[in-house]
Amino acid sequence: MSEQEKLVFDRADALVDVPTHYCPGCQHGVAQRLAGELLTEMGLTENTLLVTSIGCSVFLYNYLNVDSVEAPHGRAPAVATGVKRARSDKFVLSYQGDGDLASIGMAEIMHCANRGENVSIIFVNNTVYGMTGGQMAPTTLVGQKTTTSPAGRNASKEGLPIRMSEIIGQLGGTAYSARVAVNNVKNIRKAKKAMKKAFEVQQKELGFGFIEVLATCPTNWRMDALKANERIENELIPYFPLGVHKDVTAEVED
């Protein structure tokens, strides 16, 4: 490299250099890239044990260059508990979608957080079951049409979408809980900072770290990538406001 040439970007070592299987405009790729960059920047890659879940994110183990174990649908927080209890010296990361975490896995996520397990969980909320073809999720917005709510989600029969970040923030064992979006550069930067906090509380053994990422699913929203990105701003953020719902490090600093 000559003096005029300066390396301004390099792929983080935690990220495997392969194309992902995600659809165009899907934001799983952004969320997992942030995770990979943080693992590299925080020097955690070699020390990380990853628990993958069921859904579009199941192939995360092909994209992050870390040791991993695959959990059954919804059970990642229980599997992560087993990993952390067996190897408390390791950094334990899990990554779940909304159907996985907030529906079939509701008991596991609540109790993992409440026990204050020193693990970090990235929760990608795109308001649908992606891999199975766009069925209604617990986070599907009222009126949103899916393959199992063809007339739109009906609040009187199907309830209101669940705000996980707020709920997790209420639990005693939670050290950090925040909701972020990755729909623009500003939000991506904020998301990375918040994700870093969710990782740091584990390193400091302060308890459970939770980060909810609002994300697009253009395929199942029947939208192009740009429209899907606009929907994050216009529909998702008003119902799922961005922000920190618990941060024990802030309380300590006060």
């Binding site: 070699e46 044990l49 695959e70 959990a71 087993g82 008991a107």
Partner: protein, 355 residues
């Protein structure tokens, strides 16, 4: 902490707990259900004292899934439950088998179906030896008949789990779990600290990331995986254990396992004193089933009567083992009642008389 060579008067549940800790158990995940509560209760105090981790999980489902995480790290892990709880664990057991993760699962069988009762039963034979969860898989199943055997077998169970990278099940019942007997403790040799080296997840240092999974989507991958599992199960079949009592000159062989095998043994002792030529064949490994040994007895022209504390489950494996040579009659003592040696006298005499 259990010392080697101590003689203790303890329940089967405690014998299993002490045996597991002696075997180097690191992580136990449990949930309350009768009649196995002595195990999580014992573990909650003794395992942390021995340097291990105890978690009372939010559900049987979660407890079994915690096993996946601990087993993936290559540490010795265990859960225990009773029938309805084991049904809930079957999801994770299928994943453990599919991902080839070694662990030990204890089932203190109670009456079913559904909530049934909290008394003894052998109604879980099928769900234990035929897979139990979804997909083609097998778990090694060990069925102790005494508290001492429970202590010994749980130690062996961990070695087998790691040898075959497969879940191992201890199948007892409410009798074994709740009865007290003298148990002489022992501690196996120090286990290899590098157990699981080569497959366990420890962090990807100077090598690509390692993936422990049961998902195989690429063309031909799942078929290859299933063939590998089939070969492993065939290899496991070389490991069988059984007890034979007075079978040599017997005209009639009673096949019975676990607590029932032991009660039947008392009946056989009484009938022997009265001059009846009857013997006991007690399978200790239910999977793999000791088919070859049964077949040898069948080739000697012996008759068979299978006695179980259910409506007839193991009898199918007995019949398969001796097929084309002999058949087995069946006597089922229905779950919900507690059998005594007297209960088996009439069916045995009837089977003997039918010669």
């Amino acid at each position: 902490m259990t010392k080697t060579g101590e003689k203790l008067f303890i329940k089967g549940n405690e014998a299993i707990s002490r045996g597991a800790i002696a075997a180097g158990l690191k992580c136990y995940f449990g949930y309350p259900i009768t009649p196995q509560n002595d195990i999580p209760e014992y573990m909650s105090a003794a395992l942390p004292a021995a340097g291990g981790e105890f978690v009372q999980a939010e559900s049987e489902v979660a407890a079994a899934n915690m096993l996946i995480g601990a087993a993936a790290c290559g540490v010795r892990s265990m859960t225990s439950s009773s029938s309805p709880g084991i049904s809930l664990k079957q999801e994770a057991i299928s994943y453990l088998a599919g991902s080839e993760l070694p662990t030990v699962i204890v089932n203190m069988n109670r009456g079913g179906p559904g909530l049934g009762d909290i008394g003894p039963s052998q109604g879980d034979y099928f769900q234990s030896v035929k897979g139990g969860g979804h997909g083609d898989y097998r778990t090694l199943v060990l069925a102790p008949g005494t508290c001492q055997e429970a202590y010994d077998l749980v130690i062996q169970a961990f070695d087998l789990a790691f040898k075959y990278r497969n879940p191992v099940m201890i199948l007892g019942d409410a009798i074994l779990g709740q009865m007290k007997e003298p148990v002489i403790t022992w501690t196996p040799e120090e286990k290899d600290e590098n157990e699981g080296h080569g497959w366990r997840i420890v962090g990807a240092k100077n090598r690509p990331g390692r993936i422990l999974k049961s998902l195989h989507l690429s063309e031909g991958a799942l078929a290859k995986h299933n063939l590998m599992l089939k070969n492993k199960y065939e290899d496991m079949a070389s490991f069988t254990q059984k007890e034979e009592y007075q079978t040599e000159d017997a005209d009639l062989i009673i096949v019975a396992y676990g607590s029932i095998g032991r009660i039947v043994k008392s009946t056989i002792k009484k009938l022997r004193n009265e001059g009846h030529k009857v013997g006991l064949f007690r399978p200790i490994t239910l999977y793999p089933f000791p088919s070859d040994d049964l077949k040898k007895l069948a080739e000697q022209g012996k008759k068979f009567l299978t006695i179980e504390h259910n409506l007839g489950q193991m009898v199918e494996d007995v019949r398969l083992s001796i097929r084309t040579i002999a058949d087995s009659e069946f006597f089922g003592f229905y779950p919900g009642n507690l059998p005594t040696p007297d209960d088996f006298e009439e069916p045995i005499l009837k089977a003997l008389g039918g010669k």
